[in-house]
Subunit: 168 residues, 2 copies
């Protein structure tokens, strides 16, 4: 066993999106049980100038589809960013997972030194493939999944860290 760029990216992304999906399922059940409009949770935020839950899920999925495509050297799939319900968000997660699974280890491995150019807050940033994954994509993915979790937890949804980590 020796670590490679594919193992450090695609299966990790798929696993975390699965955990994110399970967390959203629990939010739906919570809303039903408590007779809360699910849109309240979809639009909930931790601070007035932070993004709502829906945008957290959009960015988490953007991060991983962008990474998979850029490391593999294929076009980044474009999504409309119009999700307004938990069902919409689940569909976005599912199509992201399908895209991730369409990318092979052969396409990803060897792209450690590939130049990746991003537009970030109006300026262009260049990464090499490996630091792009380790210092940008993974921290961002976990940030937005954790923030989704935190928004729901703060609003009373009964989830625990094992929902975030997934089964072992």
């Amino acid at each position: 066993m020796s670590l490679n760029l594919y193992e450090a990216s695609i299966p990790v992304f798929v696993r975390m999106l699965g955990n994110l999906s399970s967390i959203l399922d629990k939010a739906v059940i919570y809303a039903e049980t408590k007779n809360i409009d699910p849109a309240i949770l979809v639009n909930a935020r931790l601070a007035p100038d932070m993004y709502p839950l829906s945008r957290q899920v959009q960015i988490a999925t953007d991060m991983v589809k962008g990474c998979a495509a850029r490391l593999a050297g294929v076009d980044v799939p474009s999504y409309e960013d119009n999700e307004a319900t938990f069902a919409d968000l689940q569909a976005r997660i599912a199509k992201t997972v399908a895209f991730l699974q369409s990318v092979s280890a052969e396409q990803i491995n060897g792209s450690e030194g590939r130049t990746v150019t991003l537009k970030l807050r109006g300026r262009e940033i260049q990464f090499l493939g490996q630091p792009y994954l380790l210092d940008f994509v993974l921290p961002n993915l976990y940030f937005h999944v954790t923030t989704t979790y935190a928004i729901l937890r703060h609003n009373g949804v009964e989830i625990g860290k094992m929902d975030y980590l997934g089964a072992y």
Copy 2:
């Protein structure tokens, strides 16, 4: 350039602890500026049954010192978990970074298949080195750093995602 276990762990940990330290510095400045007792932030939580900020920082550092030691095959440093101020938490981060920097690439690389045994909520779990890093340590590290960020952000501290990600 080819990814290895050391590059995917120790430099990533050191970088994120540096970002965490900067975030805590901004919390101290915020408390001073707003004339808030810093202990309020150190003890703040996002939900009554979630850990306070101090414990988030303790667990983030536990995750990485445990990982570095277990992959390198050395004893896990034991800390007292008695931090009560931002200065205490900064000292904990600093000693964790010093420990991480004491571990070499030669000690970490090749431990992908090393068996790691953890006690988790009363039961023993066995990992191999690589999934221990990818599926347990990194998601946990980012979870607790992001939750620290979210607690402070929810309480009005002026931080942004670039504080969490660090400079590029």
